[in-house]
């Protein structure tokens, strides 16, 4: 149903993985929402997200901040990725005070997201869970690779690229951080968590 759900991994690993995003509802509060979505992005950028972007324009690795900001439209979905709940709670607090009127969603550990809401004096309104992968799961790459690839919900990050970059890291041609950035580029929305990806790659290299 969504581009930020179905991210796999252990609780320990997912503790570093939160996406906060905003959008307006088509035909309801859409008209004139672009400045509000720009304001969301400005507020999010204050907290130095590990990645960010807009489904209409691209991600922070392929577009400049100015391009992203100028590209925001009424139909945009703007995202920012963080690796700790204190930051998410602080951003939610800012967003609650700003009362932009656009929908805001936190994607990540649901119990922690509820705590973030609590700190910002908000209450979860609607929640969504993954119920896993069904069918011919033997077609899929190993779970460690899926933990990386599922960080792009549109499936733009291939398992083959992860495998290739792991080999290059092992040969000393790339650092885990450089490889994580290469993996983040195809994820056009900017929801790929570079910091978590680097940690997952490090684990794969060591195993």
């Amino acid at each position: 149903m969504t581009h930020t759900l179905h991210r796999s991994g252990s609780r320990e690993s997912l503790q570093d993985d939160y996406i906060v995003f905003a959008m307006s509802a088509k035909g309801m509060n859409e008209r004139g929402s672009a400045p509000k979505l720009q304001e969301f992005l400005k507020m999010a950028l204050k907290y130095n997200p590990t990645n960010y972007g807009d489904m209409k324009t691209g991600n922070s690795l392929v577009k400049s901040d100015a391009q992203l900001m100028d590209g925001v439209q009424d139909v945009s979905i703007v995202h920012a990725v963080f690796h700790d709940t204190d930051t998410v709670a602080a951003l939610l607090n800012d967003l609650a005070r700003a009362d932009l009127g656009v929908s805001v969603v936190v994607s990540g550990l649901t119990d922690e997201a509820a705590q973030c809401c609590h700190h910002a004096h908000l209450e979860p309104h609607t929640v969504e869970y993954s119920l896993g992968i069904w069918g011919k799961t033997e077609l899929l790459p190993e779970p460690a690779i899926r933990d990386v690839t599922t960080m792009c919900g549109h499936g733009q990050v291939s398992a083959g690229l992860v495998q290739r970059l792991v080999k290059q890291i092992k040969r000393g041609k790339l650092t885990c951080e450089q490889a994580a950035d290469l993996l983040a580029k195809p994820c056009v929305c900017g929801v790929f968590n570079r910091k978590r990806a680097a940690a997952l790659l490090q684990r794969m290299v060591e195993s």
């Binding site: 869970y129 690839t149 499936g155």
Partner: protein, 249 residues
């Protein structure tokens, strides 16, 4: 996507980028080729800008092959939903739209996710199975719009040979009907040549007597540790209380 063999240097830089392994190296023939049957026209290889000679090229797409890019390339905006990619707003704007209400749950079966891809024969198989429950598929979902008969979950014959990176079969239903839907998902999962990721969403307010994680566990399933939380900042907020009383449509 195609490779112009007259320009290709067989550097194979593009191969690893393909999410569905549709770019093949034919060593004996010294060729690198895109399998047009397998390619879902997501554009990832082209956007990666790794081809040094411009051999990788987007060929013009015509119906029904356009379905591939519409559902596989997140930069392609569906003309009716106006959402980039294959999705809908679903619970993301539920605070404003009131799409999922008290006593109901939303379900989505995302065919081909993660990374396996799905053909429309399998997509139709799953949609038909879910249609037997009498559900109404989400009208704003691009997959629903492609159906020839949404009450039966069928698609036009000419698109059944098409393949996409993922496609979302989406509907909501009364909580009481959830066990049948889960059973149907279990059964149809055995009948397809791909995978689907299943997700469930519900309103928190008003559904607190039976929180969603408990409801999920009642079906013999375990909710994911992570999920999505709409924090209710959208305005104007949909009046769920009035809707429950039948005063809001």
């Amino acid at each position: 996507m195609i490779i112009d063999e007259s320009l290709c240097t067989r550097c194979t830089e593009c191969v690893a980028y393909c999410p569905v392994q549709a770019i093949h190296i034919h060593k004996a023939e010294k060729r690198v080729q895109v399998s047009l049957d397998e390619c879902v026209e997501c554009g990832v290889c082209l956007r990666a800008q790794v081809c040094p000679t411009g051999a990788l090229q987007q060929q013009p797409l015509s119906w029904p092959r356009t379905i591939r890019s519409a559902l596989s390339d997140p930069l392609v905006v569906h003309p009716e939903t106006r959402i980039p990619g294959r999705g809908t707003e679903e619970m993301k704007t539920n605070d404003v739209t009131g799409r999922y209400r008290v006593g109901r749950v939303g379900l989505a079966l995302e065919m081909g996710r993660p990374g396996a891809g799905a053909g429309f024969r399998d997509i139709q198989r799953v949609a038909q199975k879910m249609a037997t429950l009498g559900v109404t598929f989400e009208p704003l979902n691009p997959v629903t719009k492609m159906m020839s008969d949404p009450t039966a979950g069928t698609f036009p014959r000419e698109i059944l040979g098409e393949r996409v990176l993922s496609a979302i079969i989406e509907f909501d239903l009364p909580v009481a009907q959830l066990p049948q839907a889960i059973q149907a998902a279990r059964e149809v999962a055995q009948e397809i040549d791909t995978v689907f990721s299943l997700d469930i969403c519900a309103l928190v307010h008003g559904n607190e007597k039976l929180p969603l994680p408990d409801l999920i566990r009642q079906q013999g399933l375990e909710p994911s540790l992570n999920g999505k939380t709409n924090v209710g900042l959208g305005r104007p907020i949909f009046d769920f209380a009035l809707a429950a009383e039948g005063q809001v449509s």
